[in-house]
């Protein structure tokens, strides 16, 4: 790369020119920012303005560009210079839109703008132009694990988009659970009657598709590599092993019904009690005729027990709702009513949950004469030739009972998600300590592995709640905590076939994007397209392993000398490793301890007599920073004493930034990150949690510096906190003013 | 020729000497000003009201209304039926809807009508007087003839049930209909923020279970006072009667001092159009509306 030449551009559009003293900003960029070239423009994002920058890059040799205009989240297409290092000074959303246009406010508003110009200049000088990851793989074949409705849909969708697919199914036939359904919950208008399960058609499409290679009776013996260059070993029935190169993985391994033998009080295990899968088998055998029990007796009365072993608060059974079972029971009740309207069909429920268009389906069942009673079943026992169902009627508030030829238990979905990695690593540790039982347990757990990943973090995708392979249910469905691996269908969360089809389509699209990005050396979501990647200055590394352990995505292995070994394509660029490193040897070309540190140092700190405190805000770029931008768009005002620096994640915040800031005279530091813990909203799963854990250590440092604990504040922010955030900032700033100036000023 | 013509269905309570006779006189005066011609359906009969459900059964109720449809169609062809009473409107409209949606009911109805020498071809539209005012004329037209705006007078607009549910006035919400407030505004008066505007007055239970109905009426009057209203205004004869005539008994029972006049919207409009107290039917108010009587005399 050519020698560094810096340029700053001061925009005067969007009232920046009238609200701010642009000449003074130019002076600051020149003298303090020490930019080689400084220009102002009336409308920088216009074709003319962009051409000005482009011309400087092409003809003046400018390599580093500081754009002092609007937020880095705005005008990204206009200010897109991929071959250059670019920083953004947020004068619009960050300054003039959050400050009143009054004479009284003019001075502090200008000071704010000047600091953001200083920061943009300092940041860009500390950046390098990302050169992209050279260690890429260009395989564009998708591996789909599981041949049920989700897996087949993912395979077909990827094929339709022009990608080759390897489909691995552990049984001898495609179709999965859906193939075992007599009919499925309706998927189209008017949502009134069960419809064909659709599997035959899907299988025919797969078989006719030259892009899709199917392995039946096959499992994954080993999966190694990284996005764009996975190598999978497929064990087939004959005992031989096939090898395939794939670029991304969709795991659609489905579910098994919760074992009804664990529900003896509801009749699990009795002759005339079946689960929903059992009823499907009976209905399939009847094929539209009278449904008969295993003993051949025609069923004249049937009771469906909802939430059997689900939504359990005792901790004994499934705690969650499986989502599909109400609609499934409605459908199964219709099997009976459609074959003979005189069959007594009763559904006992506590809450009837019918997602999608299930409400219409529910109504249709009521129209057909299915009786829905709100009640809790306490006992199912054999009674003569059938069953006696005891329940509490919750509407009539009485204990009552009813007889039925057959009882159907709506048990829930148990995901086929492989071993729980935390439990596995605990067992492994115990086994390494010589515990024989643990050794047996490890073998047993590993035998359940689906992917058999060759990752130091374990053989499968980490589980979220209740054993499902999910990672971020709100912002990124289908994402898992392994890059280029996506979960679809009931292995991700409980769902019905309609949702599974949607899930599979989404996961296939995500997987395609991941393969394409991996091939270009770019990051996958949420920093899709980012060319930077972490590197470590190994001569300074103490081999503490924090980075390898804390990476939420299993991107960092250890090499044979126990140094961190980055699998760049697995990396999501969150910077958690950078925040973790106690000796600060990990950095990105465009994001480092330096790029943020330089901004912190660039801010002008007025002396203690000025009564102008400075509060540093480190704001998560995914939620808090957009929330601040939107506060600006809504013209919600906040304090002029704050200076905001976006960070990739709280997990990337290195404690040195906090201590440096406080040492250099900032009066307070505010951290804004996403919710962590069980209901986390962190885009990098563990980032905000780890960041907060580290920050808790900083409080000791504060004590050591003789500073009040309140000088550091940790705030949980969601992207929707647009209205409340300015108030929280103001309250904190007021608190800092009341506390008085930091004793470190001017030192 | 008048600018609008309708087949008028006054209903039992709006007859001479009946409980809503002053409603009728004010409607007549109001329509005269607005150049609306209302021709009474010859030999019309009772709609059956809601409370007859147990004795009447289904078909006899519809047949009663069907007779009025047939008479209107035969004698006043092409004219919409307009009712002033909420219950008449509801009962007739309900029968129209049921008959139009059920071939069986319609066939039975025709067979019964034959006994009275009648027959239905097309059931006319069944509308409430309020619909005529706000849909066929519009608030602006209603404002035009105002000679004496009711400046500074505060009314709680008591919509009640049956002009509001289940059919209601088109475009209004069941929970907070605004048309009555707008009518109050169009005569220059001020509608108050009245939170019981769609609460039931007890309906027919005022006769059969007076204690229960009066408890409801008490809440309504109390809320009207709380809203700062001087008077109540309503579009429904039963609402009017129930909220007006039981105030004395409620006072005895609960120790309240209610004395709030209850008016029809048509009375306010008649007065604003310059009508006399008599034309507005103020003499028919059991709780005299002194303020309006003085206003009319000015």
């Amino acid at each position: 790369m050519a020698e560094m030449k810096t340029a700053a551009y001061i925009c005067k559009g969007c009232e920046l020119g009238s609200r701010l003293d642009a000449a003074s900003l130019v002076k600051i960029a020149t003298k303090e920012g020490k930019m080689n070239l400084v220009r102002e423009h009336d409308f920088l994002c216009s074709a003319d303005g962009v051409a000005l920058i482009k011309n400087d890059i092409d003809n003046e040799g400018v390599t580093h560009v500081a754009i002092c205009a609007c937020s880095r989240r705005a005008k990204t297409e206009a200010f897109n210079f991929p071959a250059n290092a670019v920083s953004r000074g947020n004068l619009r959303e960050g300054v003039i839109w959050i400050r009143p246009d009054t004479d009284a406010a003019r001075e502090t508003t200008q000071e704010m703008a000047e600091d953001y110009v200083r920061m943009a200049c300092a940041e860009v000088k500390a950046m390098k132009v990302p050169e992209g990851n050279q260690n890429t793989g260009g395989v564009k074949t998708l591996l789909v694990v599981g041949g049920g409705i989700s897996g087949m849909t993912a395979a077909l969708e990827a094929s339709k988009a022009g990608y080759k697919v390897v489909l691995v199914e552990k049984t001898g036939a495609l179709g999965g659970m859906t193939a075992k359904l007599y009919k499925r919950i309706p998927t189209r208008e008017p949502f009134k009657a069960p419809e064909d399960n659709g599997i035959a058609d899907l299988v025919a499409q797969i078989e006719a598709d030259a892009n899709i290679k199917v392995y039946l009776n096959a499992t994954l013996a080993k999966t190694s590599g990284a996005p764009g260059r996975f190598k999978v070993e497929i064990a087939v029935e004959s005992g031989s092993v096939a090898t395939e190169d794939v670029g991304a993985i969709v795991q659609a391994t489905g579910f098994t019904p919760y074992d009804m033998n664990k529900l003896p009080h509801l009749g699990g295990g009795q002759a005339n009690v079946v689960d929903q899968a059992g009823l499907e088998a009976l209905a399939k055998a009847a094929n539209g005729g009278p449904i008969k029990r295993a003993d051949g007796k025609e069923v004249k009365s049937v009771v469906f027990v909802q939430c059997a072993g689900q939504r359990d608060t005792s901790g004994e059974h499934l705690q969650y709702c499986s989502g599909h079972c109400c609609n499934t029971s409605i459908k199964q009740a219709m099997y009976f009513k459609d074959s003979n309207p005189d069959i007594d069909t009763v559904v006992l429920f506590t809450d009837l949950r019918t997602p999608g268009n299930g409400e219409d389906f529910y109504r249709s069942a009521q129209n057909k004469g299915v009786i829905f009673s709100k009640g809790v079943v306490s006992n199912v026992s054999a009674n003569g030739g059938g069953c006696k169902v005891k329940f509490k009627d919750l509407i009539l508030n009485e204990e009552t009972e009813t007889d039925a030829d057959l009882v159907v238990l709506a048990t829930g979905m148990v995901p086929t998600s492989g071993p729980d990695l935390d439990a596995l690593s605990e067992a492994t540790r115990a086994a390494e300590g010589g515990d024989e039982a643990a050794k047996e347990q490890v073998v047993q757990m590993k035998s359940k592995s689906v992917l058999n990943l060759d990752y130091r973090q374990g053989p499968d995708i980490p589980q979220f709640k209740h054993g499902f392979n999910d990672s971020h249910f709100i912002c990124f469905p289908y994402e898992t905590r392994r890059t280029a691996m996506y979960a679809a269908g009931p292995v991700r969360r409980p769902m019905d076939t309609v949702q599974a089809v949607e899930d599979a389509t989404g996961a296939a699209m995500k997987a395609i994007q991941a393969m394409e990005n991996a091939g270009l050396g770019k990051a996958a979501h949420p920093r899709a397209g980012d060319l930077s990647f972490p590197t470590a200055r190994l001569e300074g590394c103490t081999q503490c392993k924090r980075c390898t352990v804390e990476c939420p995505f299993g991107a960092i292995d250890e090499d044979e000398k126990r140094f961190p070994l980055f699998n760049e394509s697995r990396c999501r660029r969150c910077g958690t490793c950078m925040g973790a490193c106690p000796v600060r040897v990990i950095s990105f070309e465009n994001y480092s301890v330096n790029t943020v540190g330089a901004q912190i140092k660039a801010v002008d700190i007025p002396d203690e007599f000025s009564e102008k405190p400075r509060v540093l805000i480190l704001a998560c770029e995914n939620d808090a920073y957009p929330a601040l931008d939107m506060a600006g768009m809504n013209r919600y005002e906040y304090d002029a004493f704050v200076r905001v620096i976006p960070v990739r994640c709280l997990g990337s915040v290195n404690t040195i930034w906090i201590t440096d800031a406080l040492n250099s005279g900032y009066d307070g530091v505010m951290l804004m990150g996403c919710k962590h813990g069980e209901e986390y909203q962190c885009h990098f799963v563990k980032g905000s949690e780890l960041g907060r854990y580290r920050m808790s250590k900083v409080y000791d440092t504060l004590k050591g510096m003789n500073l009040e604990e309140e000088r550091l504040m940790d705030l949980e922010v969601a992207i929707t906190d647009i209205e409340t955030l300015p108030k929280k900032i103001n309250d904190y700033a007021a608190k800092i003013v009341a506390m008085g100036a930091s004793p470190f000023k001017g030192l | 020729m008048a600018r609008k013509e309708y087949a008028f269905y006054p209903g039992c309570s709006s007859q001479k000497g009946a409980s809503a006779s002053n409603y009728l006189s004010s409607v007549e005066s109001m329509c005269k000003t607005l150049d609306i011609k209302m021709t009474e359906i010859p030999d019309w009969n009772c709609c059956g009201a809601s409370v007859s459900y147990a004795e009447a059964g289904e078909l006899p109720r519809h047949v009663m209304n069907a007779r009025n449809f047939a008479l209107a169609e035969q004698n006043l062809p092409g004219q919409d039926i307009v009712a002033t009473c909420a219950a008449c409107w509801l009962g007739a409209r309900e029968s129209k809807e049921r008959l139009e949606h059920s071939n069986v009911l319609m066939a039975d109805t025709q067979e019964a009508l034959k006994e009275a020498g009648l027959n239905i071809k097309v059931i006319p539209e069944v509308r409430h007087m309020v619909e005529v005012l706000i849909e066929d004329l519009g608030y602006d037209e209603l404002k035009k003839p105002v000679k004496k705006p009711l400046d500074g007078m505060k009314f709680a607009g008591y919509v009640g049930c049956q002009t509001n549910r289940p059919f209601g006035i088109h475009g209004e919400s069941f929970e907070n209909p605004m048309y009555l407030d707008k009518l109050v505004e169009s005569v220059g008066a001020e509608p108050t923020q009245f939170d019981q505007k769609v609460t039931c007055c007890g309906g027919a239970l005022a006769f059969s279970e007076p204690d229960k109905a009066q408890a409801q009426i008490k809440d309504i009057i109390e809320a009207a006072y709380d809203s700062g209203a001087e008077m109540l205004v309503t579009p429904c004869p039963l609402c009017q009667a129930n909220t007006e005539v039981y105030q004395g008994q409620i006072n005895k029972k609960y120790g309240t001092k209610f004395n709030m006049p209850v008016l029809y919207y048509s009375q306010l409009m008649t007065l604003a159009y310059g009508g006399s107290a008599k034309e507005a039917g103020l003499d028919g108010n059991v709780i005299r509306a002194r303020k309006l009587e003085e206003f009319a005399a000015k």
């Binding site: 529910y362 109504r363 009521q366 004469g369 009786i371 009673s373 709100k374 509407i395 | 039992c12 309570s13 001479k16 000497g17 409980s19 006779s21 002053n22 030999d43 019309w44 009969n45 009772c46 059956g48 009201a49 809601s50 409370v51 007859s52 459900y53 147990a54 004795e55 009447a56 059964g57 289904e58 078909l59 006899p60 047949v63 009663m64 007779r67 069986v104 039975d108 067979e111 019964a112 034959k114 006994e115 009275a116 020498g117 009648l118 049930c161 549910r165 289940p166 069941f174 039931c200 027919a204 239970l205 006769f207 059969s208 279970e209 229960k212 409801q216 004395g248 003499d283 108010n285 059991v286």
Partner: protein, 211 residues
């Protein structure tokens, strides 16, 4: 037990839901209730207490086959026809009409609570309205007051005296109607024949023995 009750019990055996679907006006809507309880929360009479069962509970009882309890319930007789439940029901069950239908059916079967005042009002009102084609308010009031006998009637009339006097003074109650005056339809013969036919057709359609 009335003849009709015996007849219906025999016809529907234990299927009370079916009985209500076929016999009560709008009864085929009962099965559509989803037990949300919005009707109960919307009913103005709910707040007085005194009803046996809220609407959605009645519907559940019908499904559970509690025939005697439903038909003898006082609940449906509390209905003030305000249509609040009707417009709020998320399932669009015409609850007001279902209530009326249940009441009517219970009344026909002779199962409705004896001496229920609204039941008496319903009969009195309809008889009054159909006798002359239009309501005679004075006679209606009189027959309501004297339903429990002369003594009680006089007491009630006295209680209501000031109210009635107010109406008379305001020319909204005409005492002359009590003695032969009052409004009448002209074609009374036609009306009575028409109603007789309607009753006959309704009984036929519902498979009830003609009254």
């Amino acid at each position: 037990m009335s003849d009709m009750n015996q007849q219906m019990t025999a016809r529907y055996k234990n299927n009370f839901l079916k009985e209500i679907e076929e016999q009560a006006e709008m009864g085929d809507w009962v099965k559509m209730c989803m037990q949300c309880g919005v009707c109960s929360g919307s009913c103005p009479t709910n707040f007085h207490g005194g009803w046996d069962h809220p609407p959605q509970e009645l519907f559940m009882m019908i499904r559970a086959g509690k025939r005697d309890e439903v038909l003898s319930s006082n609940s449906m007789w509390q209905c003030v026809s305000c249509y609040n439940c009707y417009v709020r029901c998320p399932r669009k069950v015409p609850i007001t009409h279902v209530m009326h239908g249940l009441a009517e059916y219970a009344y026909r079967l002779g199962k409705a609570p004896k001496g229920q005042p609204t039941q008496h009002l319903s009969k009195t009102f309809w008889d009054n309205a159909t006798k002359y084609g239009r309501v005679n308010e004075v006679k209606l009031t009189q027959s309501l007051y004297f339903k429990d006998g002369i003594g009680s009637g006089i007491k009630k009339a006295l209680e209501m005296q000031s109210m009635a006097l107010g109406l008379v003074k305001a020319k909204r109650l005409n005492p002359m109607e009590a003695v032969g005056g009052g409004h009448k339809c002209k074609d009374l013969k036609g009306i009575h024949a028409m109603l007789a036919k309607a009753r006959e057709l309704e009984a036929k359609r519902k498979g009830r023995q003609p009254a």
